[in-house]
Amino acid sequence: MRSQAMFFKARVGDKLADPVLQENLGKAKSKFVDARARAVAEYERDEGADFESLREAGRAIRNRTLANLDVWLETFEQKAGERGAQVKYARDGEEICRLVVEIARRHGVTKVVKSKSMLSEEAGLNKALAEAGIQPVETDLGEYILQINDNEPPSHIIAPAFHKSKEEVAELFTRTHGRPKKSGIEEMTREARETLRSHFLSAGMGISGGNFLIAETGSVTLVTNEGNGRMVTTMPKVHVVITGIEKVIPTLEDFATLMRLLPRSATGQHISNYVSVLTGVKRPEDLDGPEHLYFILVDNGRASLLGTEFQEMLRCIRCGACMNHCPVYQTVGGHAYGWVYPGPMGSVLTPLYTGIANALDLPHAATLCGQCSVVCPVKIPLPELLRGLREKQVDMDLRPKSERLALRLWGWVARRPSLYGLAAKLAVRYLNWLAEGRDRIPLLGIAPEWTKGRDFPAPQGRTFRELYAERRRREGR
């Protein structure tokens, strides 16, 4: 998928002015937040259950494999191979597409059913498959809705159609399925089930992502509610797993710990409906299951984060809590971010995976309120990473001239205390004059853009230094 992240500001304007999107976001935004809060509170009702220590454990598990990622990957490879899986690697999206098309051709596959895989979005896999004459069918309800809407990109990593209303979905369904228009969500879901069932049973290959890879057993784990993940990995003869090299964890016990964190952080469930741990291929006497299993382990920028200040981002378990709790995401939705991953995690990943110069606005699309890092199940310090990216932009000379000049000027003044005092004094007087006795300034002459969306608070009285000096005088010191 080609990144559109450089157009963030223009897109935000469109999204804010879109009344349908604003209504849809308004309806959806508190649901995940409330559900997570409830789930965490319910977890802590049991004796000895403390979500904070769980988060600490999740962080340690993810750090452990990242610290020796090469050795863990080799271990996983060996274990998976022992059970009949083939492990392949892809450097980038193009290589993912090439490998998947090759595998499909080798097995004579003409139709592929897909369970949600964000990496296949990174690669633009559906387009590549279609061009190779292989029909890709998305089976996660949200992804399916977007696919039949002319391959619209997802706006949320766990709820891809987060931005759509049920009326829009009903319209799409009647247009695509040629059936009478439904009004209820239950009826629409049944219609999708009936349509997709025949695809599950006729496809030659299933493609899934992977929530985790377990080194101890060479397994991939899948977490879904709809059961499409199970379908895709049970019914077709070939199963291809596409996942990032950073997803490996040590043991089944570690998986148990992470499964206490992931569903609660994502949807506020105690556990997702279906959690599958899949190891190797169908055994000769088994009545169902795929005969061929391939892993495609993808770099696409991940290795370049290792050993840097951004390595912590590789702990991410893709729960979506950071975007659910982000005031910016809640206001502009996921499409404004312009690539596969929206919200705070996307604002960190997009510049790092697609180039810092190609996503200049994203690290600034945050108020640094810190809510994302408070809810992150593996304690990624997202605001610090965003700040780190802002610093990188300065180091790389990517900030606008006016901003660089202004900051240099400020730095020069700030190093001269008496000049600084005078400037502050003048500024306060000027702002007070602008405020005309009110406590807010509706239009700031030197930064009109800034006051477009909010008022500038007027300073109250004199500067801190003036007040401090006066107090010392009064106290006779």
């Binding site: 309806k27 990957l73 089930r193 570690d254 770099d299």
Partner: protein, 217 residues
Amino acid sequence: MQAREDILFRVRAALGRSDRNRHEGETDVQAAFAARAQGPRPQLGADLAARFRHECGVQSSTLDEVAALADVPAAVARYLAERGLPPRAVVWPKYAGLPWAAAGVEAEARAARDEDLVGITGCFCAIAETGTLMTCSAPDTPPSTSLLPETHIAVVPVSRIVAGMEDGWALARAELGELPRAVNFISGPSRTGDIEQTIVIGAHGPYRVHLILVREG
């Protein structure tokens, strides 16, 4: 192979890999496998069956209870009649020998097909913490039975209820040795929240999950 070598080279370079710290890495892998350390876990108290029943309610599974395995077919017949479902089902080969005909249930032991309305399975064990079935694939316990039919009925021996997922893994290691192809943890009927974040029961898997607890040891 070039991609593999390239990626591993990049990873090693980024980690500052040397012969010496490579050994440390390998030691850490072995230590993790030897210890299989558990993370923080909630204490559930002694009555695991009560907790399991409660959590099943949270997951929208329904419950019944019988004294012995031989009572299961009659309980199935009763459930199907109450729901107005035909007394026909695909069952795990593992349970082919139960007295189905005597209870008036037409049971076929094979993998499930699209047209099957009712699938009857057991479980490897059940997890009290979350009201979850742990199922393990094998020739006599195919996974499709709990997936394709709209109604899934599962037999849960009370003696097989354990506290958490970690206990399920310990049982699997002790009884099965290596993991089967598919371990599926099932917690209630399938659902989706993909349209307006409104939860709807019944997506691609079953609409109904009915659990029959069996008391005998």
